[in-house]
């Protein structure tokens, strides 16, 4: 006689196991969040958010908040048109040839490069090489930071956009072409509008994630700058502070000369909240999309 475990028991065991595994995922998330909250909350005051840092990581983090926000804006401005353009080319125009394969492999490789290498490349190329043509004050700039970060998020933007474009049903294109639209008109009127929510969601999530990265901008952002990116005089050529790099430099100096050891937690909390706010539109669009999609 074959011995067989009751399938109902198996079902319960499997279910229980999967539930426990899922709960295990929650623990580190909660842990990180609670520790940050516990240590960081005491640091956050109105002054902390709205004033410039003083020596030894005293004072506030206002310039770093603004710096990170501007960096995000710059990254979007650079990466969205290029990424979207590449995605449209790949999804709508490219033939199945060697060039297309090379571009695709390039994008995958770009995604595989460690972020610190982007940091190094950004510094070497945008700051040192292209910086030769700029006044010395303008080299470690918001522009250089945005370009570096944009390069890093480009694979994410391209992939998200391409997937959104390819999710638009083929018959939208057919109908449009059969009405006498050109290929570009078809993309413009029958494809892009339906892909846009997906494109924006993917892009925002990717850039939100990049906004918290230290490595790509560690050689470019200023460790300490008691002023805002100097919008008035230099615009995008201004030096800047950013939250992740400031977090890194304060934390690295805790116990040496940082006044309050909880300061890094305060910065981390602000950074987490900021990234959440940046990605919130994407989360909302995505939720709306799930409900509204009908094709």
């Amino acid at each position: 006689m074959r011995h067989r475990i009751d399938p109902k028991i198996v079902e319960k065991v499997v279910f229980g196991f999967l539930l426990i595994v899922s709960m295990l995922i929650l623990i580190p998330i909660l842990w990180v969040f609670l520790i940050t909250l516990k240590n960081g909350l005491s640091v956050i005051t109105w002054d902390f958010l709205t004033t410039s840092p003083t020596m030894n990581a005293g004072g506030g983090i206002y310039p770093a908040i603004i710096g990170t926000l501007l960096l995000v804006v710059g990254t979007v401005i650079v990466s969205l048109p290029i990424g979207l353009g590449a995605a449209i080319y790949l999804s709508e125009y490219s033939a199945k040839n060697l060039l297309t394969r090379i571009i695709r492999i390039g994008i995958v490789s770009l995604a595989g490069i460690p972020s610190i290498v982007y940091g190094l490349f950004g510094f070497a190329f945008f700051v040192i090489f292209l910086g030769q043509f700029l006044p010395i004050d303008w080299r470690k700039s918001l522009l250089a930071g945005s370009l570096t970060l944009a390069l890093m998020v480009l694979p994410v933007v391209i992939t998200a956009s391409r997937e959104a474009l390819e999710a638009v049903p083929e018959h939208f294109r057919e109908v449009s072409l059969s009405l006498g639209a050109t290929k570009w008109q078809t993309i413009r009127y029958a494809v892009l509008p339906h892909a846009l929510p997906g494109i924006l969601t993917g892009t925002i999530l990717g850039i939100g994630r990049a906004a918290g990265e230290t490595a790509p901008i560690i050689f470019i952002a200023s460790a300490w700058l008691a002023r805002l990116p100097n919008i008035g005089n230099y615009y995008i050529f201004s030096g800047f502070m950013a939250l992740p790099t400031y977090l890194y430099s304060t934390f690295a100096n805790v116990g040496k000369y940082i006044e309050n050891p909880n300061t890094p937690y305060g910065i981390a909390l602000v950074l987490m909240i900021l990234v959440f706010i940046i990605t919130l539109p994407a989360i909302l669009i995505r939720a709306k999309l799930r409900r509204g999609r009908k094709w």
């Binding site: 109908v175 639209a181 009127y189």
Partner: protein, 265 residues
């Protein structure tokens, strides 16, 4: 006596030829999907293409608006005249051709936009955007497909909330603002119930007053009901082409007879 016959023949209106194919061959790569098709499609009539699945009906239909151009290794030889213009001549304006030759697809496929946006889609693409004109075309087009009374207060509803029959009518309405002469329909009723099918057939009979209609159908009863002329296709060949009544009552070719008496397909 002879004289009398000649006179009546002269009185019968000569059907104007809208589409004429001569020695039409079509290849998908190495596979020949259309073999030496010669036919003349009359203006302001409903012409049906029948035949078993895979015999090339859709392919032939897509020759007329050159949608086959989208398929990379598709090659066409022979001539296809529409209003005496060879549409496969180099330099043919595909935009004008496709405005003139509209297409209704097998599954109702409105865009997931409002009813209004669906109808003005073609106009917007072709650069017409004056609100009053768009409104006018929406009303006219919906009236032509007999949806206006039902939908005039719901123009900004999502088109996908309509019934399948209404969606298919809307897809016909979507063609009209760009002013086609010819409407190609590829099994337009295959996803509709019998009652809806009958109503869409009624609509076709009204539309043929203004448009030349070519319909592909696997439903022979439908071909018999709506069409005045019919072509029977088999394995890429146009086996027989003539008046529908003749095809269905006294087919000249044995294969046509076998098909309509249900021996295959």
């Amino acid at each position: 006596m002879d004289k009398y016959l000649m006179d009546t023949a002269a009185l019968e209106p000569v059907a104007q030829i809208k589409i004429k194919t001569t020695n039409l061959d079509l290849f998908y790569g190495d596979f020949q999907a259309l073999i030496n098709v010669n036919m003349e499609i009359a203006a302001n009539k409903i012409t049906a293409l029948i035949g078993p699945s895979g015999c090339g009906k859709s392919t032939l239909l897509r020759v007329f608006n050159r949608m086959n151009d989208l398929i990379e290794e598709c090659q066409v030889t022979g001539t296809v005249l529409i209003d005496d213009q060879d549409i496969y001549l180099p330099g043919t304006d595909l935009i004008d051709l496709r405005k003139k030759v509209g297409m209704v697809f097998q599954r109702p496929n409105p865009f997931p936009l409002s009813i209004y946006e669906n109808i003005v889609f073609g106009l917007k693409v072709h650069g017409l955007a004056r609100k009053s004109e768009l409104d006018y075309h929406v009303e006219q087009s919906l009236k032509e497909v007999m949806l206006w009374d039902k939908l005039k207060d719901k123009l900004h509803r999502n088109a996908l909330s309509l019934t399948l029959e209404q969606q298919q009518r809307l897809c016909i309405a979507r063609l009209l603002p760009v002013k086609p002469d010819i409407i190609l329909m590829d099994e337009p009723c295959s996803s509709l119930d019998p009652v809806s099918t009958q109503r869409v057939e009624e609509l076709m009979k009204v539309l043929k007053e203004e448009y030349t209609i070519v319909i592909v159908t696997h439903n022979m009863a439908q071909a018999a009901r709506v069409s005045e002329e019919a072509g029977f296709m088999l394995l890429g060949q146009l086996v027989e082409f003539g008046r529908t009544s003749q095809i269905f009552t006294t087919p000249k070719d044995k294969r046509t007879e076998d098909y309509i008496t249900g021996r295959y397909g």
